[in-house]
């Protein structure tokens, strides 16, 4: 006799980087988020385009309303976190600020917003690892850790 097993789709978490174009730390948010999306947690993460979220992007708004999010901001202006709270109607599950994280671990910020070099890989890995850790915390929650 066949045993019926309920197959549940993987829980999803929205990663919202500020993508700050002016600052090296903004570039770091992009590279770290892509690493999480493409390599570390491809089945559990999606990215939310912040400008599209503001411009009433229906998919973005709907996702933020219904799923847990992690904001990744390059500096303490916390643009991503502020916009998510204002327009998403709720706080992100976790808010990461790159400048704080690098300082905590004694790692230098990249020297350029234009291009990251080999020595910046440590910073990318640190931020990506932190995001992935927070994703794991969310999806391991028994109840409301994402749909």
């Amino acid at each position: 006799m066949l045993e019926l097993v309920e197959i549940t789709p993987p829980k999803k978490v929205g990663i919202i980087p500020c993508n700050g174009e002016e600052l090296p730390e903004g570039t770091l948010t992009r590279f770290a988020c892509r690493k999480v999306l493409d390599q570390i947690k491809p089945n559990n993460t999606v990215t939310i385009c912040l400008p599209l979220f503001i411009n009433n992007g229906k998919e973005e708004r709907g996702f933020v309303e219904n799923f847990p999010t992690i904001t990744v901001d390059g500096c303490d202006k916390r643009c991503g976190q502020k916009i998510t709270e204002k327009l998403g109607g709720k706080k992100p599950e976790h808010s990461i600020v790159i400048t704080d994280l690098l300082k905590e671990h004694g790692i230098n910020a990249p020297g350029s917003a234009r291009t990251l070099v080999d020595m910046d890989q440590q910073a990318i890995d640190l931020v990506a690892g932190e995001i992935a850790k927070k994703v794991d915390e969310i999806i391991s929650k028994p109840n409301d850790g994402g749909k």
Binding site: G20, E22, L52, I83
Partner: protein, 139 residues
């Protein structure tokens, strides 16, 4: 646009290569083709109404570079009370050079880097920078 600092604002897209082409074109203008004549700011700062970012776009010529048809950079500049002097869709540059298909989203590969050169060179002409590279086409 010759006598003012031009603000070039790329969109923040990281889902497709065209956002990165806009960003790299911005950096190319700032650092290589038009140093001192071009600047940028974080689109997200503009979106939260950061006073410095809002003043910057209101008081200077603005070019927006959007990676997709949602035109987020243009719309966010308009929301800040400024009509961009030029609104560019990066995809239009690709349409003129379909042989130059970027090979990655953030690492554009050689074809993507060539598209960056072409777009930045075309924009440099509009900003009235002298260093136009050969091989450019319509943005």
């Amino acid at each position: 646009m010759a006598n003012k600092t031009t603000v070039v604002l790329p969109c923040s897209g990281i889902g497709k290569p065209y956002g990165e082409i806009g960003r790299q074109s911005t950096y190319t203008l700032m650092e290589d083709l038009c140093p001192g004549k071009v600047t940028t700011t974080c689109l997200a700062k503009l979106m939260i109404g950061d006073p410095d970012a809002v003043e910057l776009v209101k008081n200077n010529p603005v070019i927006t570079l959007d990676g997709c048809a949602q035109d987020c950079a243009r719309k966010n500049v308009e929301s800040a009370g400024k009509k961009p002097d030029r609104a560019v869709r990066v995809i239009n540059t690709f349409k003129h050079h379909r042989d130059l298909k970027p090979t990655g989203i953030l690492d554009l590969g050689e074809p993507g880097r060539k598209l960056v050169e072409i777009l930045a060179s075309d924009l440099a002409l509009e900003i009235d920078c002298p260093a136009k590279k050969e091989g450019s086409a319509d943005a």
